[in-house]
Symmetry: C2
Subunit: 308 residues, 2 copies
């Protein structure tokens, strides 16, 4: 298995990326890593091993660059080369904490959506106090959605929960403002019957804002990307406030730390792509590699294709 | 000043309502209260004073009854009589923790929207760790919105923040998934210029999910009611989880307890209407009366009318 990592992505690259690679390699000596770095700025301190491949690139796509333009103009930058390696099969998964827009453009135009998928999605992981974990999609890629898009998010996230997390027959809930069918805005009202009729998912009905964290009504929660992104960022802020501002130590609160999950997979594209947070540190880089490994191991993309 | 309270509304009425009345009266001996109760079930333990007026009614609108039908058929129930008193001026504000739908129908059809207001809104109070408090509207009354509706929520909530909370020139933020103009779903993209052109509000631009709790970028946050309701219920669940499940004691966390805020005002109707939570206890009933008093004292409704 060959996994690619952009060593230059994120505010704390490459130092923290190097630490993340060390931790990952120690736990996964069988995985080959392809590490994309800026040839003009050699990286020190990487583990020396047969399965660690350094790929010198030319430049980096900055965090504030225009995604599509940068990908087109900087074809030798780390993200561009990483996608090229993924496209030609030199690596089986590609992860970066760099320019999110560029990662998404690459996923959509280099790796491309799977046949039948109209709108790929990103998902976010939601910790529950009972120890379980939920998956929310779309977390921000598709601000405006049609019912059929949300139906596809349900299929994609269900496949992820089942194959990558080993949750059999994951329950799917529609994020809404009331429990009964018929509640909600026009989009939610129109989406409910589409999900209900989809026999490839285990639809359990509407869930409300209070159910996102507290209950285990649904393993997979679906909504449009505008709503999902607001929920994601609100949930992330809970960690920052209670951990750093209020100095609260709590096992459950600790599970809000995005770092341990590493990054968000892009669901619905032909190969595993993992997008990390711009403020990723060592643990997050290690997590991105771990998520990549699980997606490859579980043959996630091929299994999803069978559902479409 | 005369304030009306439905003694039969909510899961813990009338016992907790009685306790709430005691606390309020002790602190506000100058306010006259009109207490609507079911004549068939006399209430014991209320304070005896000249300014406490008991209004026997006939029956109660149940929590699960169809709102419009119940209000029409049970014209002598506590909520119905309360609205009648408010409509004819016997009371200056009316509060209930009973059937939310019936309260909203009464607000819309008995008290009616102010001239120029197309869609009244409900708002929710958001505590910030720095001690400040934000106001989010709409919190669920209008699942589908047009830019002009959200523009009106901004006007209404700004007036509330200014006149009831004494925040001069409150900053208004549009809840969105990116900071820059042009970000967001079609609704947010179309709402931004409308808010920007409204010289009766202090629009500060987009805010994100992470800004709802953590920062003080905006005093007033506006969005459609679908999104607002999900945010509201997610925020409420934070209190339940960390307080009761995780047993965390924290001053800021305590401010997530809706009980201390009492209830949500219905913004944009002709007279002060306050809707309490179905699980209101004594503190929440006292809070509902306090909010009612502040709305009357500040002459909120008349001041809002000047803005439309």
């Amino acid at each position: 298995m060959n996994i690619g990592l952009d060593m230059m992505g994120g505010d704390f690259a490459p130092t923290e990326a190097v630490q993340g690679v060390h931790s990952f390699v120690a736990a996964n000596p069988d995985v080959s890593l392809y590490l994309f770095f800026d040839g003009a700025r050699p990286i020190e301190g990487l583990p020396e091993a047969e399965n660690i491949h350094l790929v010198p690139c030319e430049g980096v796509i900055g965090m504030d660059e225009h995604p599509a333009r940068a990908l087109k103009e900087k074809q030798k930058a780390t993200i561009s080369v990483g996608y090229h390696y993924l496209a030609i099969g030199k690596i089986d998964a590609f992860a970066s904490a760099g320019n999110t827009g560029a990662m998404l453009v690459g996923a959509a135009y280099v790796i491309k959506p799977m046949e039948g998928v109209t709108r790929p999605a990103v998902c976010t992981i939601v910790p529950r106090p009972d120890g379980t974990t939920g998956l929310l999609a779309d977390a921000g890629l598709n601000a405006d959605c049609k019912p059929e898009n949300i139906n596809q998010f349900a299929l994609l996230a269900s496949a992820y929960a089942e194959h990558v997390w080993n949750i059999p027959n994951p329950r799917v809930g529609l994020l809404n403002i009331g429990e009964e069918e018929g509640k909600g805005n026009i989009l939610a009202q129109s989406t409910f019957p589409v999900l209900k009729e989809n026999d490839k998912i285990n639809f359990v009905g509407n869930i409300e804002g209070r159910d996102i964290l507290t209950t285990s009504k649904a393993d997979v929660m679906v909504c449009d990307g505008y709503t999902g992104n607001i929920v994601l960022k609100l949930a992330e802020s809970i960690y920052d406030i209670f951990k750093f501002d209020r100095k609260i130590e709590d096992d459950y609160l600790e599970r809000f730390n995005f770092e341990q999950y590493g990054g968000s997979p892009v669901l619905g594209v032909n190969k595993p792509v993992i997008i990390g947070h711009g403020v990723s540190k060592a643990k997050a880089f290690e997590g991105m590699l771990t998520v990549s490994k699980r997606m490859v191991e579980s043959d996630f993309c091929e299994k999803v294709k069978l559902r479409f």
